[in-house]
Symmetry: C2
Subunit: 193 residues, 2 copies
Amino acid sequence: MNIQLEIPQWLLASLQELPKAIDDVQARVQMILDLARLNLKHETGGPFAAGVFEKQTGKIVAIGVNLVVATHCSSAHAEIVAISLAQQQLRSYDLGGAGMPHHQLVVNAQPCAMCVGAIHWSGLRSVIFAATREQVEKLTGFDEGPVHPNWRKELERRGIEVESGILENEACQAFREFSSSGGLVYNSRATGS
Amino acid sequence: MNIQLEIPQWLLASLQELPKAIDDVQARVQMILDLARLNLKHETGGPFAAGVFEKQTGKIVAIGVNLVVATHCSSAHAEIVAISLAQQQLRSYDLGGAGMPHHQLVVNAQPCAMCVGAIHWSGLRSVIFAATREQVEKLTGFDEGPVHPNWRKELERRGIEVESGILENEACQAFREFSSSGGLVYNSRATGS
């Protein structure tokens, strides 16, 4: 009896077709936005994707998408999938350990309450996201949970840089399309679903 | 390439020896405290354990322990392991879905920032914990991350009850022993390790 999160075939295939590294930061975000759209298209999960990169070289260490429904696991957010794949591949729970390069997380949306905490524990040194929490909640109806009101400062004082605003409009457009296509929104009892 | 979290043999064996259900709430907490100690004794992870119970019947749905180091996965906290095992067993990402009984999480310590968020998404209807965050941080040196200052109210307004204070001293004593035995404390860069 183990916990197993199966990575979709299309994502594994994508990984083969992607370049080994992406130099430009905006191009990294664009790649993640494309994966979020593909996750919806392939009906393997919610409209969220994330990638772990080596900040300096742009090397793609791991990519993840939201797999909550398919894997029967509410913790299988894109960020946690990408971080876990990176850590298991590097055989370390700490992406910031001795001898590690600066590992950067790129996400199409601001991390939820759980994922902010997951970033705290991960050893990541920086996070880049596109759409804000307010945009995600307004456009989709997801309740992103009790995120600390000063979460950016809280991460930054722990040595984790946070950057946002890259391709925000493109990210929002995908959420609009998700919503108008009747995408599944799962929330805790008090807030819907 | 999947994410796999291997559950230790001793935990699977424990599950066979435990009763099917535990009626008394304090006895549920005691069982979780015992598992947290066993996780240290077997050197399979940090001093944390959690269980998902059916609140009314006391049925043990799933038990989890901290597996961060052993599984190379910083998200493999006891709560996430227990919640994920319960969800995969019930084949649903939502422990509070239609037709589900009230599912209760019992933990030996206050959930960290990540686990508060994980509880939000899980469908759990209540949480019981023993030691507080302040006690854990003081006694062990772990940095529990950016927990929302009003996390209890934030969960409660989402329909998730929070209860604490049961066997708090016993839980703290185990953290003292963990600390004095030189247990491994892993934190983000700015705060140590």
